[in-house]
Amino acid sequence: MPPRPSGAPEPAERRELLSAGDVARTIARMAHQVIEKTSLGASGAGPVVLLGIPTRGAPLATRLAGKIAEFGAVEVPVGALDVTLYRDDLRRKPTRPLGQTALPPGGIDDALVVLVDDVLFSGRTIRAALDALRDVGRPRAVQLAVLVDRGHRELPIRADYVGKNVPTARAEEVHVQLSEIDGNDVVMLHRPGEGA
């Protein structure tokens, strides 16, 4: 599982992967890619819905929609899809609080749903998201956008839009911070020290 840091203590070794400027540029580039790949705004293109996976996928989806509106002059509905109740690792961790699920008013039936998350790691969160999607409607197709792909997939899942590919060791952690939640934008790679 990609760790979802919240005020994590200062570790021994940290390296910055993306600065605040990099995060903004990356999201802008992903917005262009979404517009192109989904033919957004073109006549005959079906509806597109962005669904962020809480915690940090939700503000990412909102930002992505903002950029899409800016570049493509198209308003895409944005929502949030919490996958906690669909996870396969609930019994391995202390009880998790639930995130917010908020579907756009029009729902997701027959729309192209772009799932948005911060880090793609094992793929298990996305597996849970696909199950959760099935319970809330029947999208025309599902795509995946992630800010960071750090590898180590445990399931046959891949992203359609990747902000940055980062080769990592399994023991390393990628911490995404977003101003909406953490006060600032940055992506850090945390390498635990010996014995950590």
Partner: protein, 316 residues
């Protein structure tokens, strides 16, 4: 959390986590065609009721089923309890048969605590669904969920609990929970329907508890009224001269409801006796949250099962 036995001693942070989960579940399921979550797949919940119940048993069953747990119902009337099996042996049997959670209602106060101690060597969780005149924690939690929705919270709010406090586990559980969230609670009842020592009940530091024998002076300043049922089945003596006299002195009539502030909410844990402790017109009015309480009851019980069964095993 391994067991949920009462609201006394329930850490407010845990209570808040349960309420937030219930709220999240309610939003998640809102407007859905398929109300089924895979979260508790493969877990087994046994409801074991030694007393009659409609809403508590049904809502636990629905709660378990909506989360994909297997739910088995045992009622005292149609089980080996009738042949004389003790509560302890029934409990050990249910645990041995594979119950991950036993939801128990029993006429004896303290039954859920005993059950939990008998099952302490197992992984089985116990939920108290009402033990005698002691506690009914999920009812207090669903009342709190309803008050949060209607009033935005209970801190600094004045809430009256009216009626048969003596026999009411709902009143006791609510006093603990409401005061721990900072509510000012007033118990309104005739002296004969108040338990001895009620003035010394432990009260959450943030809230307060007061006793009153008269309903009318309280009404204009209340944010919520919780009306209790007069429990005829537990009354073996003259607690009041007649049902009519009780109704006149303590029943929430339309005239009394009219004195309440505009925003005040009316709650009743059910089953209600219309015309006795509450007038039918009040129970059906917009300020009554009685069906909302039942709906919230399902989500609160889902949240309780989630907190007991979904996380990693905890030492008791």
């Amino acid at each position: 959390m391994k067991h949920l036995l009462g609201t006394e001693g329930l850490d407010p942070a845990t209570a808040l986590a349960i309420l937030d989960t219930a709220d999240g579940l309610k939003r998640t399921l809102l407007g859905r065609e398929v109300r089924k979550l895979p979260t508790l797949r493969g877990r087994t919940v046994v409801t074991c009721f030694y007393e009659d119940s409609t809403r508590t048993r049904v809502s636990f069953e629905i709660a378990g089923k909506w989360m994909s747990a297997d739910v088995v119902n045992v009622s005292a009337g149609s089980s080996s309890v009738k042949k004389g099996e003790s509560l302890r042996d029934t409990a050990l049997t249910l645990a041995a048969a594979g119950a991950d959670c036993v939801v128990v209602r029993h006429p004896a106060s303290g039954a859920a605590h005993r059950l939990a101690s008998w099952l302490s060597h197992t992984n089985t969780s116990v939920v108290n669904a009402g033990d005698g005149t002691h506690e009914h924690p999920t009812q207090a939690l669903l009342d709190m969920a309803t008050l949060r929705e209607r009033l935005g919270g209970v801190e600094g709010r004045r809430i009256a609990i009216v009626g048969d406090v003596l026999h009411s586990r709902v009143a006791r559980s609510n006093v603990h929970l409401l005061t721990s969230f900072g509510a000012d609670v007033v118990l309104v009842a005739p002296p004969t329907l108040l338990p001895t020592g009620v003035a010394d009940w432990p009260v959450g530091a943030a809230g307060s508890l007061r006793i009153s024998h008269e309903l009318d002076p309280e009404l204009p300043t209340l944010d919520a009224v919780m009306v209790l049922r007069v429990q005829a089945e537990r009354m073996h003596g003259g607690f009041f001269p007649s049902a009519r006299e009780y109704s006149i002195a303590y029943g929430l009539s339309a005239a009394r409801a009219a004195v309440l502030p505009e925003h005040a909410v009316v709650l009743h844990p059910g089953p209600m006796l219309r015309g006795m402790e509450i007038a039918g017109s009040v129970a059906d009015s917009g300020r009554a949250a009685i069906t909302q309480q039942v709906t919230n009851g399902v989500h609160v019980r889902m949240a309780v099962l989630y907190h007991l069964l979904a996380g990693e095993e905890e030492a008791a």
